[in-house]
Symmetry: C4
Subunit: 229 residues, 4 copies
């Protein structure tokens, strides 16, 4: 059961170490099957180089394991909260990638500074507010998802497909698991560029709005002309 | 047709990921055949590890595809504008390499700070002015080339074979595609060094003029004595 | 004799270059057999790619070689001092990893800024006071261990399993050699993140206490739910 | 003739790209045979991956080629000036390694900040004064060596086996070519650490003198106890 989706989620998880986004077992990717109302996600704390496609865990929308021998990622509650809130999202990835996590620790949104950013994110990559002690104590992972959704506050979550959780790290998403990982790779790169750019010129300006819109729309708009599709 | 030039352009494109200058499908290299008035360029949005020499796209000087099954790079208009303006240029490369792009986002020219820079670039690597909303809206890629040419403003474009487009990233060139990529690798390295040097000593000085001229001329001048030629 | 422990210590030492924590022969890992009151440690100044498990040196609790053809690591005295002071420690690693060493040179503790840190270290990673000229002159390596122990000053050394020695570099530990190396990898990564985060926002705040406690306890507390155990 | 020394110099040159110290053909290593009064050095501008041991160039103490089909490195004059001035030096290396070069561009000595530095360099790694226009115009490479010697100004050049040439980059040396490269690797690493440490704490202090002397002498002093010798 769910062989194809398990393979997709496995492949997307294995892309994380290949792109240098994770240390040890950090990070996790999931995908949802909306028809069957299940999500497939990485098992918790399992090493990437010992993991197989069949080790992916299937959970229902309440987070109950319905298939698989392992516990699901400890962040499953956050994934579920985002899938429930946003029907456009098909895949989610969480990492502690170095530069994106540094922005989350700095407590600042990653500013949109150039076309590299605008090719994928139509605006700043926001940083959430701190979670309250109560939100951390009870249902912490679910509340993380709730606070992410509160911060996104848009009907177009794929237009800025990622966010920073304050003092924690990045979550990215996409229409499927592969695209979510793609966005995570891009976020890490733009986080690094933004750090360096701000270091070179602390008084630099945000990208001009017309340039941001041009780049996002030539790649993702109705008249997109980037790529072969 | 154009098999040899396609191979050269393909090889030059494949050097980009090998030198760590590109993420995913970012970046593109072209070369021109001035006799036949055609340019060969990377197809848009095609992954490097799936690309073959025969996938390179041949376009005429108006950007019309004359050979190849793919759409050419979305940046083709910029390449064409530069080839038309500067007969000395035989190859062009565009990347979003990390440190050069950070300088472009910072909106600052890369200052000539040492002999590493002066061995290839006879002065600062300039950053263009912002494009206006009108220049972005209509014929964006061609206008990018026009603004680059306006910024270079020299009859010796090979003396400083690269530039930063404001809030976008670097374009480099050379007498052919291979040399253009070589200059892009060097620009990324001097961009990184300049960031670190300015971080170490914000009040550092530009390279002494006599030292810059000595290094550029011992490598590229009429009495050059670097190398075996 | 001691074949199994030698193999563990050898494997842990070989993980250092694989994780990019050492240059040349820098760094050393040891483990203790508390029943037999011996420790096994890397030989001094031997290259990693020429080293074999049988080259590990066995010393008694006074640092006298009891097995092996090589001199033990010059830092053996520091390892011994820590094993003697803390019965919970089973393995120790010392490196000059780039970012952790930079914090030691800066003379500052690595502040707990995010969950990546809190998943392994339940508070700041402290920097010791300077050693006095007397402490450096006589029994230098033993005194380094004494000053580390003075700085830790806790009955739970595994709650913050690492420290910075002022103007020198990091020491990490764990319940065995493998875990000590794991903690050294994590310390280097959080040292890098903390540098970048402080560079992005010099006025950032320490991680909220409730968030730090949540992350440390969900991984290491009595009701831990991270991983498969 | 000179087969053994050519092999040593070739091996030392090939270590430069392996340690990430050079881009393209940058960098060069030489060694001297004091009995025969010849030096062996890398040919100018030849790619590392196409170079063979027999391509090394043999020159006499006036820089005249006495064996080999290639031109010697354009920096040969600097190597010769150092060999002539310091009989203790047996091998020399020049690179444009990223972080050491950034300090040279910043125009500042690399401060001795920790034991990593003191294990190899018994004090700051000095930066030379600027060369005058006259020194650059005539006999530039020889004058670079003269200014290095003027800056070292010691009878123990192996105690701080490297220097930064202002706005240019590092030169390192040792008792042979292999040791010179070893010192170049270490200098690049301490240059990186010093940049990061100064970024973390701009008001950090130089390493305590007693700690610096202890580390240098336990590795290089008459009673050295690091390593197996």
């Amino acid at each position: 059961m769910n062989t194809s989706l398990k393979q997709q989620v496995f492949d997307a998880n294995m892309a994380l170490p290949r792109h240098g986004l994770v240390t040890y077992t950090w990070g996790n990717v999931s995908a949802i099957d909306r028809d069957r109302q299940i999500i497939v996600i990485k098992p918790s704390g399992v090493a990437y180089d010992e993991m197989q496609a069949d080790d992916m865990v299937v959970v229902d929308m309440q987070g109950k394991v319905v298939e698989g021998q392992y516990r699901p990622s400890s962040d499953t509650g956050t994934h579920l909260a985002l899938y429930q809130r946003y029907p456009q999202i098909g895949g989610i990835v969480h990492t502690h990638s170095t530069h994106a996590t540094a922005w989350a620790q700095a407590g600042l949104s990653i500013p949109a500074l150039g076309t590299t950013h605008a090719d994928y994110f139509a605006g700043d990559i926001l940083c959430t507010r701190p979670l309250t002690p109560q939100e951390v104590e009870q249902a912490y992972e679910n509340n993380t998802g709730v606070v992410i959704a509160e911060t996104i506050n848009t009907s177009h979550p794929l237009h800025t497909p990622g966010i920073l959780v304050y003092q924690h790290g990045p979550f990215c998403w996409g229409k499927n698991a592969e695209e979510a990982v793609h966005n995570a790779v891009v976020m890490e790169e733009v986080a690094k560029m933004a750090w360096i750019a701000c270091s070179i010129n602390p008084r630099l300006r945000l990208i001009d709005t017309h340039l941001m819109n041009k780049h996002f729309s030539r790649k993702h708009g109705p008249n997109a002309y980037y790529g072969q599709h």
